[in-house]
Symmetry: D2
Subunit: 288 residues, 4 copies
Amino acid sequence: MIPSHSFVLTISCADAPGIVAATTACLFERGGNILDAQQFNDLETGRFFMRVVFAVVDHAGGSIQDLRRGFDAVAAHFSMHWSLRSQADRRRVMILASRPDHCLNDLIYRWRTGELPMDICAIVSNYPRETYGLATIGDIPFHMLPVSRETRMQQEAGIWRLVQETGTDLVVLARYMQILSDGLAAKLFGRCINIHHSFLPGFKGARPYHQAHERGVKLIGATSHFVTAALDEGPIIEQDVERISHRDTPEDLVRKGRDIERRVLARAVHTYLDDRVILNGRKTIVFS
Amino acid sequence: MIPSHSFVLTISCADAPGIVAATTACLFERGGNILDAQQFNDLETGRFFMRVVFAVVDHAGGSIQDLRRGFDAVAAHFSMHWSLRSQADRRRVMILASRPDHCLNDLIYRWRTGELPMDICAIVSNYPRETYGLATIGDIPFHMLPVSRETRMQQEAGIWRLVQETGTDLVVLARYMQILSDGLAAKLFGRCINIHHSFLPGFKGARPYHQAHERGVKLIGATSHFVTAALDEGPIIEQDVERISHRDTPEDLVRKGRDIERRVLARAVHTYLDDRVILNGRKTIVFS
Amino acid sequence: MIPSHSFVLTISCADAPGIVAATTACLFERGGNILDAQQFNDLETGRFFMRVVFAVVDHAGGSIQDLRRGFDAVAAHFSMHWSLRSQADRRRVMILASRPDHCLNDLIYRWRTGELPMDICAIVSNYPRETYGLATIGDIPFHMLPVSRETRMQQEAGIWRLVQETGTDLVVLARYMQILSDGLAAKLFGRCINIHHSFLPGFKGARPYHQAHERGVKLIGATSHFVTAALDEGPIIEQDVERISHRDTPEDLVRKGRDIERRVLARAVHTYLDDRVILNGRKTIVFS
Amino acid sequence: MIPSHSFVLTISCADAPGIVAATTACLFERGGNILDAQQFNDLETGRFFMRVVFAVVDHAGGSIQDLRRGFDAVAAHFSMHWSLRSQADRRRVMILASRPDHCLNDLIYRWRTGELPMDICAIVSNYPRETYGLATIGDIPFHMLPVSRETRMQQEAGIWRLVQETGTDLVVLARYMQILSDGLAAKLFGRCINIHHSFLPGFKGARPYHQAHERGVKLIGATSHFVTAALDEGPIIEQDVERISHRDTPEDLVRKGRDIERRVLARAVHTYLDDRVILNGRKTIVFS
């Protein structure tokens, strides 16, 4: 339903009177018509957040550069962190995977069906391409970057080089079974999404489904979050759970968990691609 | 977290460029600082919807009358349906009940705990006060208005008189087992909420849990909607479901359903009291 | 966790005292040790249902034939409908699909990962193989059986021939966009599962997501059921829902619905393959 | 639907061949007809669990004493932990509460409506009766047992005395804000249920909703578990969650949490009263 010449503007700044008025006036003057917008004022932190989807009804006016130039003054005045993107422009996404392929498969399927509006610029794995079968990868550039305790830093250097060469906007860890170094995590902060196979903060670290089985919980879940140096502590984007019973073995939980993981990761990536998630310290604002 | 001098403005009008800019500029000029706002543009119907919660940081300025006066010009220019309310002002709510008392009890409990910011100006039932026990009603004005096929119109006249005398803003049908006449439904349109004990549009009419059991569905639900002349067809505000199994008898469904009904009705009433629901033809906009 | 020499016995019969005693005594005498069992007595219909998973701890004893022979007397005495299957034996499954491929893809993926213990003996579509890409189908026998109003009966004859030739145990309609004739539906009764893209009984028939959008419901769902002559009226096996909002266009509902559909269909097929679903008139018993 | 002369038998013992056969044969010989039964064999621990609901169709025969006597031999042979209860006999339940009254209210309401088939033999609080209002308590014996760091042991002695005097079968901690000593926890093991206001194992200890807000989770939950010496570590009976957003303040979480808490606690108590929960080490078997 979104007209092709629509844009999305996201803003985060210290709260102050007149932000919305100044922003929307600026858009209005440039022929912008608001299709969907949400604002949120975090009274705890004093931060203000805004997402606006608008269509430029009069083309005569403006390219996105004009819009950007026009908004610069407003942004500067409120010292905003902001981004303006044409909804026609697709993000460049790199997917990192290991042996489990359900999230990788799912992301690729949703990309092929157009559900995830992105360009997959690279798939990187520490396993060979055959792990996934021709089918899955197709003609997406595939890079095997094996890793061992000794070679970890070189391997990460390789990943970083690829990120730069491919102009990657977003890195998705699709059940990538390696922990990123603090260095790489820092470089990718705010543009690297992981899926953890538990309902965080419960069951951090390894084999969460076995931990869940051991503890006898009645629901299992998955959590998608931004990657930070602190393992499994990054800002949470999306979570979901499903009911289990005493009849479920750890293997059953792993099987049921795959469904939750791929659903939660796909939602988180979709949220990101749609500019609905904005960082708020250790947390996220996710506009519905 | 909401400052005591905060207001909520809701708007619905035909879409046009500049609505948000004009509205927020108007609020800004009167010292309004936006705490939370959402806009939505229904591209199908061309209707625009907006909800703004704002605090008047500078008291010097304005009473709500000043704010209203100030906004009149903007509202007129875009021919808006709009409402401006101080969040300190409580709605006057009339609850209609019959023999089942779980929704009545639940609403009263949530009111006593302050969860539902409203004044209960009257409880009307076609059953005597004893049906509910002293406990429940306490000192809330209670009116027994018995009804039979013959006396239906007089009884409804009595309800309408009470609505006017008490200055009722919202009528809640808390499992009230009588069908309102088209006339009364029309008079109360947009300010009368019902809870139907099924996941509409499935199982309309009588004994929905028995219908659900008969059909063998695996989930049962409840639906809260605005009352219209067309039975069970009003705009839906909130719905929820729960999983059931072949072991559940119709009696089990009724029991489990009570939980869903009271939860769904309470959410719908809360949404209304918080000015989050706006009519959009046969449907509703519910801002999160 | 299930030992390789485990069996599953399912029973349905008129209730009578001693069924469980006689059944379990018979298994015990033949060295069967019960791993998991559930019984249910439908007091409405007077039907009794039982599912027993047991391991034959002493191999010396018995082949499945011996077990069957041994149980015949018990089964005859209570005039049971019953089935005894080695959990090592895989069902032969035929998948029918049309243009939408998300359910087909999902079933194949779950089969490849071993999540669905079945043999896919054929994929039948009224669209050419290219619709799905090499990837999806791989070396699974694919049959294109185009259909038009005129050729419908011949096409169904072709499907039936394939069912017989391949020894198909279960036919899965994976968003197959054709309505089976009463004749074929009757022939496949109890072994043909469909996924309907709505939370039945709401929104039967065509374009349910558009109906749901039109009605303004707050949750959408999907329903997997046995196919019967009466369209969308077959015994329900599994259902699930997800929350939506006024922001969701019909296209969004279709997208979100794909997730629910594939999840619900996969669960229903898994339930069937695990002998957890037993017909009870217009309804099903689904043992957890 | 359960005939009035129905009984429920629960069993837990080391697995061995013939348990179900011996048990059901014994019931059959005494005229027992099985209405609902479930068995589970925990292959990890080698423990076997069984729940049988049966009706004694022939009254002539037996009292529950006869049934017990009759079953003793079977139970002894397999060294079972077992219980046999007439479904007509109600458990005696003591509720412990503190200032928050939503769970207390909810349990009492469900008891008054007959949803929870129990006798409330005492309400114990460290707050005065007025905290709850006449309404709530009615004529249920109420005992105020104030507590301070110094008087804790005496207060617990008072609780224990009451448990014995009243013949309490089950103690329910309905948001009781005191931690039981190891001694009392041990004495009440297996018959004391607590509601913790988080989705354990996440957010143990104090102010879990504030912890959840701090962490920025997208779902909050509640957990009902048996009380053990290890705080918040007891075997889990039931859990549930609800979706929240960045808009929710800690106060909103507390409000939304109350709904989850009372729902989860009520389900756990209902499960217990219906003999559906059996301890399995640190975990529980909960038959559906």
